[in-house]
Amino acid sequence: MRLNLRTRQAINGYLFILPWLIGFTVFVARPFLHSIRLAFSTVDMIAGFSLNPVGWANFREAFFVDERFVPILVQVIQRNLVDVPIILTFALFTAFLVNQKIRGQAFFRAVFFLPVVIASGLVVERLFQQNVGSLEAVVGLNIPTLVYMYLPARFADVVVDVLTRLTLILWRSGIQILLFIAGLQGISGTLYEAARIDGATDWEIFWKITLPMLSPIIVVNTIYTIVDGFTDIFNPMVNFIRQVAFSGSFRLGYAAALGWIYFVLIFLLIGLVFISSQKWVFYGGDREG
C-alpha cells in the first residue's frame, strides 16, 4: 500500500510514542479519573472496593471537620513559599560562582550534585534527625535564640524553621545549580563584550544581560522546585495522605479527596508561575520558544 509522506510520518510518530501512550492511559489518565470518582465516595474494602457516592462530604470533612488537614496544608504552602525563593537564589548564586574561571570547577560541580545522588528519603531523614542539617551544626552558633530575641515571634518561627532545615533546603538545589551553570555557559560572550565596550559595570551586566538571558531557565527551575518540594518525602502532607489511606482505617475515598485538593493547589501555583512568566521571561532571538 502506498501512503503519502504525511500519513507515513504520522503513523511512525504514533508508533514511537505508543508505549508512552499506553502507559499514560493505564498508569496516569485512568487512575486520575478514577480518583475523581473515589474522592466523591467512600470505599467499601470488604465488598471488593465498591463505591458509595457521598457527594462533597470528603471535601467538607477535609476543610471543616478534620483538624489535622488544614494546619498541614498551611504549613506545606508556607514552607514552599519560603523554600522556593531560597533554593532558586542560592542555586543561581552558586552557579554564578562555579562559572567563574577557577580551578576545581569539576570538583565543585560534582559536590553540588552529590545530594541528588544519595538523597534517599529515609537516610536524609535519619541524618537530619541528628540536627546535622541546621546552621548551628555548620557554624557552631546558637542562632535561634538570637532570632527569638530580636524578631517578632510569628516571623521568628519561620526564620528558625528555615535555619534548622537549611542544609536540607540547600540539598534540594543540586539539579537547579547544574541547569543554571548550563544556562550561564550558553550566554554568548559577545553580549558581555558589547556591554563592556558600552561601559556597563558588572552589576549592570548581571541585571541587564545575565538575568534576562537566564529567565527561561528560571521558569524551568521554579516549576521543578515547586514540584520537587510538594512531592518531597519530608513533606508532612505526603505522609498524612499515606496514613489516611493505608494505616488502619483504609479511608481510600477521603485520601483521594485530599490528593485532589493537593493537586489543585499545585496546579494553581504552577499555573500562576507560568502565566506570570509570560510577562518577565525573555526568549532571545532565533529560539522557537
Binding site: 502507559g23 499514560f24 478514577h34 472496593f49 550534585f113 552529590l114 538523597a119 535519619r126 555548620v138 483521594a256
Partner: protein, 322 residues
C-alpha cells in the same frame, strides 16, 4: 571589566591627577588590576569551599560516625575523627539489614526499571521531537501534565489497580510502568530525550531515509548512538531515583524478604532484634544507624564517583535548558 572601571575613573576629573600618575607607571595599574582579580577569586574560592563543606558535612558525619564506638560518639572530646576505627558497626548493620537480600531486590528493581525507562522514554522523546502527527502538541502537554501530578493524587487508584492485577508484593509495580515511559518521573526523562533530539540536525535522518532505512532502524543505529550524553543522564537519573525511592516500595511491598535496601533501613531495629536474640535495646545506637545509612548510599555514591565527570558534562550537553 577592570578596563571599563579604569576608563571610567580616567574620565572623572576628581581623580584625574592620580590617574595620570597611574598612567605614567603602567606597572602600578597592572598590579592594581591583578590585586582586584586576586581578591575577587579569593572570595569566590572562600564561598565555594564553604558551600561545598555544608553540602559534604552530612556525608562526612555519616561516614565518620559509622566508624565510632558508642563511647567515642558520646565523648564530646571526640570530634569527627574516632579514636580507633571501629568496623563492627558496619558488619552489624550489614547483617541486621540482611543487606544481600535487600541488595538483590534493589538491583532487580533498578535494573529492569532503568532499562525500561531508557528504551521507552527515548522512543517517546524521539517521536515527539521528530514526527508530525495530529494531536502531538496536546499529547505533549499530557507529558508535562504527568510531571506535575503528585503521586499522592493517583496513589489510591493505582494501589487498587495493582491489587486487582495481583501485583502487590511483587516488583511489577516498579518495572512494568517503566517499560511504558512511566514509573518514577518518566515524563521528565521523555522531556530530556525530546529536547536532545530536537537539537540534532535533520541531515543524517534524511540521508538514511533516502537510502531506504526504516525509521526504527534510523533511530536505533544512527540517532541513539548520537544521544550518548542524554542516555547517560537518563541512565543515572533513573538508576539513582529508583534506588533511593522509598515512598512507592513502602506502598507496594509488604513482606520483609521483598524489601529494597532503603526499606530495610526502616526495619533495622527489628532486624537487629532477630539477629541478636532480643538484644536490640542495648546494641541499637546512633553509630549503628549511621553505618546502616552509609550502606544504603554506598552503591549510588560509588557509581557516581566513577561516572560524575561524564555525567556532569553530559547534563549540560543534553540541551535540557533550551
Amino acid at each position: 571589566m577592570a578596563t571599563a572601571r579604569v576608563n571610567q575613573e580616567l574620565s572623572q576629573p576628581g581623580i584625574a591627577g592620580e590617574a595620570v600618575s597611574l598612567a605614567r607607571k603602567p606597572w602600578l595599574l597592572v598590579w592594581g588590576r591583578r590585586l582586584q582579580r586576586w581578591f575577587f577569586l579569593a572570595l569566590v574560592y572562600l564561598l565555594l569551599i564553604d558551600i561545598a563543606f555544608a553540602f559534604l558535612m552530612p556525608v562526612i558525619y555519616m561516614a565518620s560516625t559509622s566508624l565510632m564506638t558508642v563511647q567515642d560518639f558520646l565523648d564530646p572530646g571526640v570530634y569527627w575523627i574516632p579514636r580507633a576505627v571501629y568496623w563492627d558497626n558496619l558488619t552489624l548493620a550489614f547483617q541486621s539489614m540482611d543487606y544481600l537480600v535487600g541488595l538483590r531486590n534493589s538491583v532487580t528493581i533498578v535494573f529492569f526499571a532503568t532499562l525500561g525507562q531508557i528504551i521507552s522514554c527515548s522512543l517517546a522523546g524521539y517521536g515527539f521531537a521528530r514526527f508530525r502527527f495530529p494531536g502531538r502538541d496536546l499529547l505533549f502537554m499530557f507529558v508535562l501534565f504527568t510531571f506535575i501530578v503528585p503521586p499522592q493524587t493517583i496513589i489510591v487508584p493505582l494501589f487498587i489497580l495493582y491489587r486487582e492485577l495481583g501485583w502487590i508484593d511483587t516488583f511489577l509495580p516498579f518495572t512494568v510502568p517503566a517499560f511504558f515511559s512511566h514509573g518514577l518521573r518518566g515524563s521528565l526523562l521523555v522531556l530530556i530525550f525530546r529536547q536532545f533530539f530536537k537539537r540534532q540536525p535533520y541531515e543524517l535522518e534524511e540521508a538514511a531515509a533516502i537510502d531506504g532505512c526504516s525509521p526504527l532502524r534510523t533511530f536505533g543505529q544512527i540517532m541513539l548512538p548520537l544521544a550518548r550524553p542524554a542516555l547517560l543522564v537518563v541512565f543515572l537519573f533513573s538508576l539513582v531515583w529508583h534506588w533511593n525511592d522509598y515512598y512507592e516500595p513502602m506502598m507496594y511491598l509488604m513482606k520483609p524478604q521483598n524489601f529494597t535496601v532503603p526499606l530495610r533501613l526502616s526495619i533495622l531495629q527489628q532486624g537487629l532484634q532477630e539477629l541478636t536474640g532480643g538484644q536490640a535495646g542495648e546494641l541499637f545506637n546512633e553509630p549503628l544507624m549511621m553505618a546502616a545509612c552509609f550502606l544504603v548510599v554506598l552503591p549510588p555514591l560509588f557509581l557516581y564517583m566513577l561516572t560524575q565527570r561524564f555525567f556532569v558534562e553530559s547534563i549540560e550537553r543534553t540541551g535540557l535548558v533550551d
